[in-house]
Symmetry: D2
Subunit: 338 residues, 4 copies
């Protein structure tokens, strides 16, 4: 940790900070420069968080040298993590194609879409039962009824089912029916939910918040892992920027960055990441080329009648084309659909 | 609602959309332009949301003419709403100064700070009992113990106590002890929480999410109000931008914009909105000048030792200066501290 | 164009707006809705810009139906444009790899880097002679001396040379020495420069401004094309967002979006787009997969001693690996290096 | 300067960096930590920029301790700078109200507006002669004819005239006619223009770029000052964020931040900062309360017919109200209109 003292600060103030650091069992190195005094700390700086030095009016800035996350970092675990979701693997060369509608609207339509995506090669199913909607007047999902449909689809097709969890209280019922939890962008920093998922036994797909930094995403993953659940899959789904031509700005830089800084699998959601049907196929290919371990794609048997996110959902025949087009990219990257 | 058809679209596709609109009881007006066909809809366009027209591949864009929120809009209710929080009013000329530490750290320190802020003129107390923290290794709050301290402080000082709620399950216990709920930026779109608060009997201070638009903030307020709780206070607390000199970018444009589009009171949090102690006083004054109905300020008896947000907390003597400096501004704006 | 009148507006105000529209030779269709009056305009709405209707206090909003750009749009010209830069083609299946150092630092070092990138397969050279630098105390480029070195390198290697132009006054001297102009992000809306380039005879690589929307990028291209120079290549180079893990956020959504809305070639700069050497190769592959017609990559014979942008420059052996890795992607996309 | 070495780096690499630092006459202090080696540099770190250490692959990060700007910093010059513009002062207690239309459209209309703003109390005139417009099909300004009108207005009213400069080549002709230059947001990093203005003899109002950090704004000011022109006035005019309810997000945090870090006057442009006529008055008051030394406001004799920026221009009677309303705020802040 590097502490820069304010220019007008006294020797006493510097000494006081140095003493606090020593009391924590670390070694302060004070350096008087031409315009500022700097204190470098030697030892495990994460212990210093308890000192809350940034509140000290004699201090100009406090900069950590180490990342604030630990267990999810690549330094902590050199090899790629491979996560087993309902018997199918993601990560370390195993590629996941998670497909399905934004929300489970009815048993018939969901099973129809499930059959279609299976036929074209998806290996995971997605579908929302609890929908967080911006407007209180929008469709809010089928609830547990939707979970039961997801379970049935898993049993019929063999594709593990993934669904969004929006509150800690739903974790037990969801864990009974589905194969993996999805944490939506709006809940990436719902810490109660993260803690509950840390105590769950099924994998978690953690979506990046729409204004979250990559460091915050990794810290949110750390929340889950530090509570005991190591099976976390990170998901880039676009961030909010000033650009309005697309619904979000898909930040594919995040893919190689996260892969270099963490051992967790990284997938991409090009449906939310673009919000535009016509961009989903090229951005799916780009995600693979950037090093992603999977994609999560919205497919609906008839997007013109979807109850949510129709504009970004693929028709089944478009999904077929997607699966055909990504084949060569997966080969180049040495990835296989388990 | 204005629907623009794609250039390559056929007359049949346009007719099909027009028929759907008629089926909902509204009137479509189709206009063939030189390069595009446009359909304008006459009638209550909010009914059209159920049609999910944006998923139709023949449609280029769908633009509402009306705002998606209703009950919280200024058109629905011309006069300023005045909210009673534990016997003290905010809105319509009544100004609130909500002061206190980021989190309740101990009974002694909290009561000490409460006395100090009362002495200098605050009329509401703040203090977190449940803290949403970015890192799992940070201080997480005292929980119900903190709520009890807040209640004691209210009884001793007469200043109504406000505290952050992070999950729907905590609403009943909090409602027992405190005078108003605060929804933090990370939970502005935690819709379960909003619904639970909509059924609560105490007022809600709703903070803008750090990447939320003003329209989304008003829709989040609509969630609470539409469930039955009309006592919502909007809070601008800074948004996330590329600028790193300050912790957030305090968007004071939001104050007059929200006042013009909604009847709800609007307050400002200059502590989170700047993240820098030295900027809190000037931005408090600016908030009043922009038309705010209150400010929410972090004050700690010794920020150098605060367990969270020390860098942006005022020392008691700085809070005294703040209260002295804003006096003239409140007079100019015709606002009084109830 | 769709004009929404304010709720409190009178029939006279609506009539006045309608009359203005008729006077321009267009047809207004007035629709009185339940809460607002809407006027739709039939005819070439671009003529209406002269009316400056957005300044009218009786009008709530003015929304165009058509894009504001014309000649660069895909609707104006269905086929991909192919641009000839110094005898080598970009666009329509021809892929460009533009490589070289951020700035031309000396004759020897530049020719050394030029030889290296040629050996590994680049087909265009880049190098700055006039450097726009954030700090007045940074290296500002060699000026015309640098241009002469670029020309020599072109003659020796056969690779057309591209260099950044920062002011209209430099256009003639640059046109004498180099094969194509590059407009940097900071100058995307330097309209004098765009106009001067519109009258030049050599192609222009137009980089997206760091806070520019895609529509603004296309309008900037329209500036150049409408002045008479049709040879414009669009370049995505990352936008500024709140994320600080990377220097910029490379917006690859821009690639398929621009290809769908414009006939101009689109290239990507993964060096500025990431700012991190380790991310350049994966993001180059992702750019190709997203549909790019070329990449622009910083390569330096020894980045540890580069006078600018060292952190994002590739070593020659890294560039060799880049060229090896992208081969398969170019084949999949049916792109060839001319 | 603090240099953090990569974890896998060798002692030799650290020694090599330390040697380079010593060669520049500075003192490196190497500290081997538990997970990283850190080198702190003692001495004037600004000399190290020439080393371009960030390009070294053995180095993880390079963080300056000092600000990169010098002459414009508050540390360099404790007292507020007071700038004389055509005989009228701004800064250090002197407040400037710069009013006028976005562009000079005709002699008659400009003189009419000039008379109106003078009558209500403005002390500076603004009006564009060279307009940078996003679309090539928009009105581009009257050029030198506009400058002559500005000069006439100055002579008639005594209000110094300010106009936007868009290219270095125009500096001499503008200097002949007007009293101060304005650099628009799009040109904040047009370094050629900044250098030309650094050699001019008249003051410069430097607007913040729409994606510029405050540090970049101060560095742009440093460009002008370091070339010999100390008369720079900083202008906050809103930044580009994801929020679309307003044209820009006016960042008033910038005002106290800039005042604390620089001795230059700081003014605010609430017209561009909001883009909405109804928000101009409240945000003008907020700017004063935040500590601004002036405001720049668009006023048009009939905004409904303005050729640019009509939606954000005040009617003369609204400007009158603005001047009445700010009076009390100026008194509270101890500011006078010279």
């Amino acid at each position: 940790m590097i502490i820069v003292m304010k220019p007008e600060n006294s020797k006493e103030a510097t000494q006081k900070v140095a003493d606090k650091i020593k009391d924590m069992g670390l070694k302060p190195v004070c350096m008087e420069g031409t315009e500022r005094t700097v204190i470098a700390v030697i030892g495990d700086e994460r212990l210093l968080e308890k000192l809350h030095l940034d509140g000290d009016p004699a201090i100009e800035s406090v900069s950590p040298v180490l990342t604030p996350y630990k267990t999810v970092s690549r330094e902590a675990h050199k090899a790629d993590s491979i996560i087993d979701v309902g018997g199918v693997k993601i990560g370390g060369g195993f590629f996941g194609v998670i497909a399905g509608p934004c929300s489970v609207e009815s048993r018939e339509s969901f099973l129809e879409t499930a059959d279609a995506v299976k036929k074209y090669g998806a290996n995971f199913l997605r579908g929302g039962a609890y929908k967080p909607r911006t407007s209180p007047y929008s469709f809010q999902g089928l609830g547990e009824e939707g979970l039961i449909i997801l379970e049935e689809a898993y049993q019929k097709t063999g594709m593990p089912a993934i669904s969004e969890v929006v509150e800690a209280v739903d974790v037990p019922v969801m864990e009974k029916h589905i194969n993996a939890f999805q944490v939506g962008a709006r809940n990436m920093q719902n810490f109660r939910l993260l803690q509950a998922l840390g105590r769950a036994k099924k994998p978690v797909i953690l979506k990046r918040g729409m204004a979250a930094t990559l460091e915050e995403l990794l810290l949110a993953a750390e929340y889950i892992v530090s509570e005991g659940n190591p099976s976390v899959i990170l998901c880039e789904r676009g961030i909010r920027t000033y650009e309005t031509a697309t619904r979000n700005t898909l930040d594919l830089n995040a893919v190689p960055y996260l892969k270099q800084h963490s051992h967790l699998p990284v997938i991409v959601d090009p449906s939310h990441g673009t919000g535009v049907r016509e961009l989903v196929i090229p951005m799916s290919k780009a995600a693979i080329a950037a090093g992603a371990d999977g994609i999560m794609v919205e497919v609906h048997h008839n997007p013109a009648e979807a109850m949510s996110d129709g504009a970004q959902s693929l028709f089944p025949h478009e999904f077929e084309r997607l699966m055909t087009e990504i084949k060569g990219y997966l080969e180049l990257e040495g990835k296989t659909l388990a």
